[in-house]
């Protein structure tokens, strides 16, 4: 006993004032969901910058006819790495990072269900990212051909066979994505189990914040849709290393089967990517309209039905491949069906704003822009879902314009809304509002300039992924216009980075609840302590913080 007592009486060891190695050790060895969430988001932002630079080079190459900014092989690598990075190393870690940071805070939990699995997921994901980028160094392999992968982000067979993809670059593509996928699945299982098993007392499913609902269904999509990609990639590895015949047409294999398997993953994947934006909008719009979200059950139902319908629409990426007319009809119809729940969501967000007391702070501006731009992206999606229309515009710049409108004008706008909205919670300080507005206006002008002309280029017949074009095609003006959007996007991004970094150090102290919000993460300090909440919160309604602030008119009276 006495030895224990003497240990307790011993004064704590003086800590060094600031030691880089201590800090590094703390971050590398952490299992705290907030730190891991931040690491995911910072990694995603870094990869976003890398892939953004690639996009800049691609646009410079296409700015003028007969361009020679890079050589054709480099161009192929650029669009492959740009697409792969954006989907797997930017979109996926944003999903994991946002849900890691926010889900436990929003449901009043101390941490995720499996903190160590969480750390494993992050590090294996990062390793996958490094593996993909290591191809720039090691991709030549022993045969000395090829560097980074150049097979496109969906890597169609038979281009990926040994005969057409020599060297090891395609193997780095397969292994990097396979390994990063393990991390995504680990993190998705963690989010699902956390949501099911770790909610604080009183937090029933009907009171759970919309953000958590959307991320729950997002994670469900990940664990269903990602394994098909892993399976197809394992088959491709068998083909490439063991001489298998899965996608080898000379032995009776089918190249189309790869397309099916890839898009069984690939189409749910685009919903996996856009869901964080849905989740963020469903939190930000009510707070900045001073109204609870309109039609909450319909909202949850819409997200859940997207979570199921999107599993059955994959072959709309393959209308031009020559399927039976019955398949074409089925996939046209099922794709149109997704328009219904998506429409419900747009209507409900708009109805939330209708009659509300709107505060046009930066997060809300991004949300409003999202509504308009995502609507246009959805409408071009309905156009492309029509088989005969798709035959005309398949693999054209119209498709490029469509999915960049969903992912940049949609997802990225949603992400910026979320980053600005939760910045005071994460850093404890307020960002600079006027810089935020500058960022918004420059960025929206740049995005419209870059991506609207792509639709017209598609109508004019410009195929995607071409290296360059002749001056007499009538594409010069629109291409130059698309590239000129960079003049606005680049400074906007720099302003954003400066705003985040500078405000995190020197910004005004924000306080616990700068937005007068209603969900649990705003009840704790900014930034939240490692233990999140001093005592386990107990909730009575879907707006627990509203109940505290308005004891005379609490929400639970109406539930």
């Amino acid at each position: 006993m006495s030895s224990i007592q003497s240990e307790l009486d011993r004064p704590p060891v003086e800590e060094a004032r600031f030691s880089f190695s201590n800090h590094l050790y703390e971050w590398v060895s952490t299992v705290d969901h907030k730190r891991l969430g931040l690491m995911y988001i910072v990694t995603a932002l870094l990869f976003l910058v890398i892939a953004g630079i690639m996009a800049t080079v691609i646009r410079l190459q296409l700015a003028f006819p007969n361009g020679h900014v890079v050589d054709p092989d480099t161009f192929n690598r650029l669009f492959t790495m740009h697409g792969t990075t954006m989907v797997f190393l930017v979109g996926m870690p944003f999903v994991a990072g946002l849900s890691n940071y926010l889900v436990p805070l929003m449901i009043g939990a101390r941490d995720m269900a499996f903190p160590r699995l969480n750390a494993f997921g992050f590090w294996i994901f990062l390793f996958g990212g490094f593996l993909l980028y290591f191809s720039y160094i090691g991709g030549s392999g022993l045969s000395g051909a090829g560097s980074a992968p150049d097979v496109g982000w969906f890597a169609y067979a038979p281009l990926t066979s040994r005969a057409f993809s020599r060297g090891a670059s395609t193997d780095y593509w397969i292994l990097g994505i396979l390994v990063a996928g393990i991390g995504s699945i680990a993190s998705a299982i963690n989010v699902i189990v956390t949501t099911i098993s770790m909610r604080c007392p009183g937090m029933t499913l009907s009171r759970m914040p919309m953000f958590v609902w959307v991320m729950l269904i997002d994670s469900w999509l990940i664990i269903i849709a990602l394994p098909p990609l892993s399976a197809a990639q394992i088959m491709l590895l068998v083909d490439r290393f063991l001489g298998g015949n899965f996608f080898n047409t000379q032995s009776g294999g089918s190249a189309v089967l790869w397309q099916h398997f890839f898009w069984i993953f690939g189409h749910p994947e685009v919903y996996i990517l856009i869901f964080p934006a849905f989740a963020i909008l469903s939190e930000v719009i009510p707070i900045f309209s001073r109204k609870p979200i309109f039609g909450r059950p319909a909202m949850v139902g819409a997200v859940a039905s997207i979570g199921f319908i999107s599993l059955g629409v994959w072959a709309h990426h393959m209308f031009a491949v020559g399927m039976t007319s019955w398949s074409n009809t089925f996939f046209t119809a099922s794709t149109m069906l997704v328009g219904i729940p998506t429409g419900i969501k747009i209507f409900n967000w708009t109805a939330t704003m209708y009659g509300g007391k709107l505060r046009m702070a930066t997060p809300m501006l991004f949300c409003c822009a999202f509504l308009f731009q995502f609507l246009i992206a959805g409408l071009t999606g309905i156009m492309l879902a029509t088989g005969p229309f798709d035959w005309q515009l398949h693999d054209s710049y119209f498709v490029v314009g469509h999915f960049h409108f969903t992912l940049v004008a949609g997802l990225v706008f949603g992400l910026f809304a979320g980053l600005y909205y939760w910045f005071p919670k994460v850093s404890g300080r307020m960002y600079n509002e006027s810089l935020g507005k500058w960022h918004f206006w420059l960025f929206i002008i740049g995005v419209e300039l870059t991506f609207v002309p792509m639709h017209f280029l598609g109508f004019l017949g410009m195929p995607r992924r071409i290296y360059t074009y002749a001056p007499d095609r009538g594409w010069n003006f629109w291409n130059l216009l698309a590239t000129s959007g960079l003049i606005f996007q680049l400074p906007a991004t720099l302003i954003f980075v400066w705003n985040m970094v500078h405000s995190a150090i020197k910004g005004e102290v924000a306080g616990d609840d700068p937005w007068d919000a209603w969900t649990l993460e705003w009840t704790t300090t900014s930034p939240p302590p490692e233990y999140n909440f001093e005592t386990t919160p107990e909730v009575r309604s879907s707006r627990p913080l509203w109940d505290i602030k308005n004891p005379n008119d609490p929400d639970w009276r109406f539930e």
């Binding site: 699945i185 399976a231 197809a232 068998v238």
Partner: protein, 199 residues
């Protein structure tokens, strides 16, 4: 904070109980593994009868009756082991656990012998034809899951033999048993597709 958050709300009547996180974790692991296997099974079914050259399944495949009986009955023995553990009858637990391991081992050995025959006598390898590619991939993916299960089964056996109080880990034994049931259920599908429909 408790009092602050609830304000003047009436006290909660119902007990707050949520599902166990380990149980949920293993369930969703099985869900995601099912998605993985589904694609391999689909690939196998799509390529049935598409091989351009022999050997063909009907010429070289024999029904692995004994191995299948062994693997499926190991699902029963592991349940008996669990029940013994629940009653704290450790000797009985070890016995049933050992039986499970031996049955799983017999399955792996007979798969190995089958592959040896296919490779050396029938000259069917993963690169011979579509049947070889899909057969070795699907059966191999399943066998690799059996091996992972075996590794954990043996781990539990070893720590128990070295005196670790396994009765404190009833939950984890249950999760391992669920995984083992899953591997067995997959074998039912693989057996049906490869040896019944595919032949």
């Amino acid at each position: 904070m408790d009092a602050v958050l609830t304000g003047s709300a009436p006290p909660r009547k119902e007990e707050w109980a949520l599902p166990d996180r380990g149980t949920m974790g293993i369930i969703f692991l099985i869900v995601t593994e099912t998605a993985l296997f589904t694609i391999f099974v689909v690939a196998y079914v799509v390529y049935i009868g598409k091989s351009l050259s022999g050997p063909f399944p009907k010429d070289v495949l024999d029904l692995p009756i004994v191995a299948s009986i062994c693997l499926l009955s190991s699902s029963a023995t592991i349940v008996f082991a669990e029940m013994a553990l629940k009653k704290h009858r450790l000797g009985l637990f070890k016995l049933w656990w050992l039986a499970t391991i031996l049955l799983g081992l017999e399955f792996l050995i007979s798969t190995g012998l089958e592959w040896q025959k296919l490779i050396y006598e029938d000259h069917l390898t993963v690169s011979t034809n579509l049947f070889g590619t899909t057969f070795y991939s699907l059966v191999g993916l399943h066998a690799s899951h059996v091996i992972v299960g075996m590794a954990f089964l043996i781990l539990v056996m070893l720590v128990t033999l070295f005196g670790f109080p396994i009765e404190t880990q009833e939950r984890r034994v249950k999760f391992l048993s669920w995984y083992w049931h899953f591997v067995d259920a997959v074998w039912v599908v693989v057996f049906t597709v490869v040896y019944v429909i595919g032949r």
